[in-house]
């Protein structure tokens, strides 16, 4: 495991001497701990619905669902702009790079240590991403942000993406995650990070590079089952010649370079495209985003994320129709998928981010989302913006199974408060819950983590085995809680 900043400072003997440390202390230190509210067992379908629409429901979210019902909850979350989220903004306040322009980001990366610190910007982006997933009250929005970050995958490991992804995250993904699909693809196509990631900045007249053109059709819109050909890929690549990124003073800005644009006539998917510069590929974008193959593809992926690894065809086609009819309105599609689809939900395996975020959220943990937690994500195989290929992290269960150990390590380390910058206060939670005995406490925690208490026989067996292994009452509580986090049931949502 890598050293945390705190370990590093301690080893350097700086901790005692440094009063400046307070100013770089994690944001959460300055906040009053997030107060939890009591919770009650939930019907399995409600717990499941919340698990799909959040990174693991907090008690407040359970309460809200009980107050306004599923449809009301969904509408409230879809209107994410009107959800007050100042607490999250406060936690993000020290991550200054999240709001910077491309040229400022380039400067920040290059000033520190003479060109050497290319880590700062992506580290802050990863940290900010996890903080938002754990603390934002706009949970459905954050779930969609993660979804589109996979759909339009970009890794910070490629070229200038180490700083350009921060702009893409803000201006492409977060600006349009619950807006329109057409605007998302449009923004992504004009995003310097995407053009660099898929080599379009070197796609020139007479020397085309097919990389972005292919993935724009295969992964962003039509899907590999869409009816495009190798010829269409090559023609679209020609349309996209000259779509590039400025350098020097304007580093990191989109530009269309007429000098390197292929001015010949093109034909993509049967559409003849005259010589009209930047507008050529933009015409194709309109064609692709309004195409029924794209609607089916996006509907399938959304249904897979929210409903089931193999979503029902009827739901997909209804969602696809809605996407087409509404000209790409993502809120309308989500209403269909959630309101019509949740009844058909099948178990979804938690991906690492979901596993970690749900543990932290449900147990009301305090974290600043920094190295120690990120390191677990890395070992589980899902570091944000770390997937190398443009298909994004897999969504289906199977690829993620078979790597249980880091989840267990996380669960037990978290409950022993051994993970730097991730603290759980079980006593506080138990006080809020009103539990008096060990059994009641475990029932409460099981209800928190799994929706409702365990079968009493299974609970008692677990308590007995842990105590037979020498655990006193406090240890039993911690080990059983960690055991619940490590259990098969908690790996599914």
């Amino acid at each position: 495991m890598t050293l945390s900043r705190r370990d590093f400072l301690r080893l350097s003997g700086l901790v005692a001497a440094s009063t400046a440390l307070a100013s770089c202390a994690p944001a959460n230190r300055a906040l009053a701990p997030l107060k939890s509210v009591p919770w009650t067992p939930l019907p399995a379908s409600d717990f499941l619905a919340l698990n799909r629409m959040t990174f693991g429901p907090r008690p407040e979210e359970r309460l809200r669902l009980a107050e306004i019902g599923l449809a009301g909850w969904i509408e409230e979350q879809l209107a994410y702009d009107s959800i007050e989220d100042g607490g999250t903004a406060f936690r993000l306040r020290n991550l200054g790079t999240l709001g910077m322009s491309a040229s400022d980001l380039a400067d920040v990366s290059d000033q520190i240590f003479d060109n050497a610190d290319r880590g700062k910007v992506p580290v802050e982006l990863r940290q900010g991403t996890l903080l938002r997933q754990v603390y934002s009250r706009r949970q459905l929005f954050e779930v969609l942000v993660e979804f589109w970050s996979d759909h339009f995958n970009i890794t910070t490991a490629k070229g200038d993406c180490y700083f350009l992804k921060t702009v893409d995250d803000r201006e492409v993904i977060r600006s349009h995650a619950l807006g329109s699909f057409r605007d998302l693809v449009w923004a992504s196509a004009h995003s310097p990070a995407m053009l660099v990631y898929l080599d379009n900045q070197v796609n020139h007249k007479g020397a085309p590079n097919e990389n972005y053109a292919r993935e724009l059709m295969e992964l962003h819109t039509l899907s590999v089952r869409g009816g495009y050909t190798q010829q269409d890929v090559m023609e679209l690549a020609r349309c996209l010649t000259g779509w590039t990124v400025k350098e020097h003073f304007w580093r990191g800005q989109f530009t269309f370079d007429a000098q390197t644009h292929d001015t010949g006539v093109k034909s993509v998917l049967g559409l003849d495209i005259p010589n009209e510069g930047q507008a050529e590929a933009e015409r194709v974008l309109e064609l692709l985003t309004g195409h029924s193959d794209a609607a089916t593809f996006v509907a399938t992926k959304l249904a897979r994320r929210f409903i089931s690894d193999s979503p029902p065809d009827e739901l997909i086609s209804r969602a696809a129709q809605t996407l087409l009819r509404s000209k790409g309105d993502l809120r309308s599609v989500l209403r269909v998928i959630l309101l019509d689809g949740l009844a058909f939900a099948e178990p979804k395996y938690k991906r690492p981010v979901n596993f970690i975020a749900s543990a932290l959220r449900m147990l009301n943990a305090e974290t600043d989302g920094s190295e120690a937690v990120q390191d677990y994500l890395l070992r589980m195989g899902q570091t944000a913006f770390g997937w190398p290929t443009p298909d994004g992290y897999p969504d289906r269960a199977e690829p993620w199974q078979g790597n249980l150990l880091p989840r267990w390590q996380f669960a037990f380390s978290l409950m022993r408060n051994e993970i730097p910058n991730a603290e759980v206060n079980l006593q506080d939670l138990l006080e809020i819950s009103g539990a008096r005995t060990l059994t009641e406490s475990i029932d409460q925690i099981a209800s928190l983590l799994l929706g409702s208490p365990l079968d009493p026989a299974a609970r008692d067996e677990l308590i007995q085995t842990v105590q037979a292994a020498g655990a006193d009452e406090a240890e039993t509580m911690d080990v059983v809680t960690a055991g619940l986090l490590a259990s098969p049931a908690f790996q599914w949502r």
Binding site: D199, T389, G483
Partner: protein, 409 residues
């Protein structure tokens, strides 16, 4: 929806992709054969620059800046030229570490190798290849998964097959649960003996079911125990130098497991980064660095397992090759025919197998790609049959009739 109101700890598991271990009895029983190590070069490696057809003028015409100079091209510095293998093909300079294995005749190359799929999509091609299927309608499990499921070797080790890294590869999926293992040194639970006893008691109870997910958990617990008991001296690297990379680490872990005799039969390893559309470099650069990792890793693995090469077969593969002509950005776009390497003590090595389709205009396929003259399933089938004792080829590669190319004996 039939989810229970009262959760039991393993309530969701019956409907997962995993099925109970040995839900059907394998039709074949045979003693364990070789340990098979499958290295997947993800991103479509430019194998034309890895094993260079320096005897082809067309190669140099198609690759004016990326072509690797001929072994006797005195205009280029000696260290930048291809290393001749057989008068027609030569290794890229970064592949030279493998010359040693080539000369010992334990390395065979199969050029113009690949799959029939012509989508030129990484994701479709990888998926079909890892599933070992002709089309998407084929079985959803992986070819290695079906190998494990169709052959009973009397080996019940949870380390029978592993995916090296964080995520087990698609090729491994099937009825036999397979764990991911990145580093033997990290594969343990943390805590003092008192804490560990409690954790272990909890996990043993929680994962005591006989559903597939519980079995996976039990396997993980057994692997922890096996690795803890492994003799660190017996399994230590024998002085051979693995590259300081994820790939080097992966090969080192596999070598340790082979030497420790913990029941390993198949290991899958990924080496990514081969999608070189831009500035791939010629004799030096981005792709040369990757090739160096690959060749020095395999060479170290071969040296480290010298005494075990009789029963270890390593194969490399990639989803497809790259366009014969370089593109305008000093890289190469998606192509078709690729190249496979097979390394081991029972390999007809020091030889480039397969017929060479050529790179002339009339010989290229699609938008200008090397044709496929050997199906990748021929190579794998032969290894499975001859070296791993599994005759169930029609289950492993459905709708395909493999022909033996005598690459192994």
């Amino acid at each position: 929806m039939a989810l229970q109101t009262l959760p039991v700890l393993n309530n969701f598991t019956v409907r997962t992709a995993l099925r109970p271990r040995l839900a059907f009895a394998p039709r074949n029983r045979a003693p364990r054969g070789d340990v098979l190590v499958v290295v997947f070069l993800r991103g479509a490696a430019d194998t034309l620059n890895m094993v260079v057809p320096h005897g082809e003028d067309a190669y140099y015409a198609l690759r004016p800046t990326l072509g690797i100079p001929r072994p006797d091209d005195t205009r280029a510095k000696a260290e930048l030229r291809a290393a001749d293998l057989d008068g027609f093909f030569g290794f890229h300079p970064a592949m030279k570490p493998l010359l040693e294995v080539w000369q010992s005749r334990q390395l065979a190359l199969i050029h113009a190798c690949g799959a029939p799929d012509e989508s030129r999509s990484h994701f479709k091609a990888m998926e079909l290849m890892e599933r070992g299927v002709e089309s998407e309608r084929g079985p959803a499990t992986g070819w290695i998964g079906r190998h494990l499921a169709t052959l009973d070797t009397g080996n019940s080790s949870p380390l029978r097959a592993i995916g090296v890294g964080q995520l087990p590869q698609r090729s491994l999926s099937g009825s036999v649960p397979v764990s991911a293992l990145r580093s033997i040194a990290d594969f343990h639970l943390n805590g003092d003996p008192r804490a560990l006893a409690q954790i272990r008691a909890a996990l043993d109870t929680i994962y005591s079911g006989d559903d597939p997910f519980s079995v996976l958990g039990q396997d993980t617990l057994s692997i922890i125990d096996i690795l803890q008991k492994m003799d660190p001296l017996a399994s230590a690297p024998s002085g051979s130098r693995f590259p300081d990379s994820e790939f080097g680490l992966a090969l080192k872990q596999v070598a340790m497991l082979v030497k420790a005799e913990v029941g390993l039969e198949v290991a899958a390893i990924d080496l990514g980064g081969w999608d070189t559309h831009f500035a791939q470099g010629a004799s030096e650069g981005q792709m040369a660095n990757l090739m160096h990792d690959l060749s020095s890793g395999l060479t170290a693995f071969h040296a480290d397992l010298q005494d075990h090469m009789d029963h270890v077969t390593t194969v490399t593969m990639s989803e497809f090759g790259r366009r014969a002509a370089e593109n305008g950005s000093f890289g190469t776009d998606h192509g078709h025919g690729s190249m496979m390497m097979v390394m081991g003590g029972h390999v007809d090595g020091g030889k480039v197998h397969g017929s060479w389709p050529g790179l002339d205009r009339g010989q290229l396929v699609g938008p200008g790609d090397l044709a496929v003259s050997t199906d990748y399933r021929d190579v794998l089938s032969e290894i499975l049959l001859k070296r791993l004792n599994n005759p169930a080829l029609e289950d492993i590669f459905p709708d395909y009739r493999a022909s033996m190319k005598n690459i192994t004996f």
